[in-house]
Homo-oligomer: 310 residues x 2
């Protein structure tokens, strides 16, 4: 019986070739760097990974290659939520079979204005379809993008039906009050709540969050880890203030291209800027103004390239 993964998790960026394929070597190199530079674990194929821009086969293959490259699957959650139930079952079963610690699962996001009972039946069929007690499924609540949401009654019903197996939620609502209410209502049970943004990380930890899963962990996990390690102490407030200020420098820029631009610059690899359409690489003028704002906010440029060799 192992505990669940908690702490600072990076929703890991995926390097893309000029022909819109996964650049395996760069991507897995980034994963290793993250685990050696402040991350307790990784989420592969969340929104920041451009998950839905890759086929099911491409997604399975990268997970296999990651584990073959020596990354411990117990440090991994895999994003597995698709519009098609059969796809979600396939990806989730695959992740559990490989030994991944958990899965982070979007609701089916094509149809809108759904009733909770339809979403419940989807997750019920998914969990029964996977049929493995080792499954730890985390709900991926990201209404600004997926639009489809997990209501409190739906969460309640899923936890009650699958206690321990429906193991937590990533709250990317961007609404601190929603995160606070989730922790208050569900945090005392066997259910972990992770804010999807570091702007309220300290406040969330102080009321019982299990950690944080934020896109910026791709370039600044050590800062978030600093807050996690010091949260009972007053100094944590200074750390939070710095982190919040840096986060504000991202406002007005598309987040995924902005993060890729940072890696591209530090690694000196122009192709790291590539994104899957419909996302676009950051324009040169946006990059220039973004980098100025980052530096003005006191951003510590990450030391990419310091990871141990494979």
């Amino acid at each position: 019986m192992t505990t669940n993964l908690r702490g600072i998790l990076a929703p890991a960026l995926i390097a893309v070739t000029d022909h819109f394929r996964i650049h395996q070597e760069r991507t897995i190199g980034h994963f290793k760097w993250l685990l050696q530079n402040g991350c307790d674990g990784l989420v592969i194929f969340g929104t920041t990974s451009e998950a839905n821009s890759f086929s099911v086969l491409e997604r399975r293959q990268l997970v296999e290659q990651t584990v073959e490259a020596g990354i411990d699957p117990q440090k991994l959650w895999i994003g597995t939520g698709c519009c098609a139930l059969s796809d979600s079952i396939e990806l989730t079963r695959h992740a559990v079979q490989i030994g991944c610690r958990g899965v982070l699962t979007l609701p089916p996001f094509y149809y809108k204005q759904l009733v909770d009972e339809g979403l419940f039946r989807y997750f019920d069929a998914l969990i029964e379809g996977v049929g493995n007690d080792r499954l730890r499924l985390y709900l991926y609540h990201i209404p600004p993008i997926a639009v489809v949401q997990f209501s409190f009654p739906l969460i309640e019903k899923l936890i009650t039906r699958y206690p321990g197996m429906v193991a937590g939620i990533k709250d990317s609502s961007g609404d601190w009050e929603h995160t606070r209410q989730l922790i208050e209502r569900f945090g005392r049970r066997d259910f972990d709540i992770f804010p999807g943004n570091e702007s309220n990380l300290l406040a969330a930890l102080r009321v019982g969050a299990a950690g944080c899963i934020s896109a910026t962990a791709n370039v600044a996990a050590l800062s978030l880890q600093g807050i996690l390690q010091s949260w009972p102490n007053p100094e944590a407030e200074d750390r939070q203030a710095i982190v919040t200020k840096i986060r504000q420098a991202f406002l007005g820029y598309p987040l995924i291209p902005a993060l890729k631009a940072i890696i591209s610059k530090v690694r000196g690899e122009p192709a790291w800027k590539n994104a899957q359409p419909p996302l676009l690489p950051l324009s040169n003028s946006d990059q220039e103004s973004f980098f100025s704002k980052l530096s003005a906010a006191g951003f510590q440029w990450p030391a990419f390239g310091n990871e141990a060799p494979a």
Copy 2:
């Protein structure tokens, strides 16, 4: 050199088994019935087909089985728009290779607040990736569900880059003024506009629409065909009034389950009510009130089962 498919197209319903698979026999039987009862063509794997609730493999297989069952691929458009560019290329290439007349393609619908240039690059990469001059690609504009939209400048840019190949649009905005403007602005070029709802079919035909692609064609294509055949004549107005009144009976009920309930009842096949989660079959009480409203509106229950044997 063939003309493009025009007229009344049904976005065809898909029969689902109790285990959430495609019921091939029932589905293809329905396709044949539609083509013998008022439809000029079919769209397989639009929203009404629950397209995104099936895997790429399931979608390819059904298209193959449909053609193997004797349905002329020149009467088919295939829904091919996925979030992943590689999936959209695979499905589109497959449809063209099989000889299907066209494809109806959603924009990638996971990420929101996209810039037009990102969507243009997606479609550019899709069309180049398919690399076949026989491609006739119809844009699938359905903002109430996909959220992501085709703006007029984006349509202009796509038509200009791929004249004749980007062959038209299904406008499921539900906004007649938007349909009217599309026809006014783009209808004089080699570009067909299909309203996605029959409520303004007559008005649309009179200003130059190429036909109609509406979910209700699954159970009432003959009525729509009647309007298409008579639109220059005053009697068409009476036909439109009847069709509009029947459409209003659907208000307040989930459209796909409501249509499946009609087929289930007439065919005497309870399993026709099945839908893929997150959609739910119509409840018994909803079905009762819906059927009452339909009958009160003068709905002609379709004569399912009159199709010629395979």
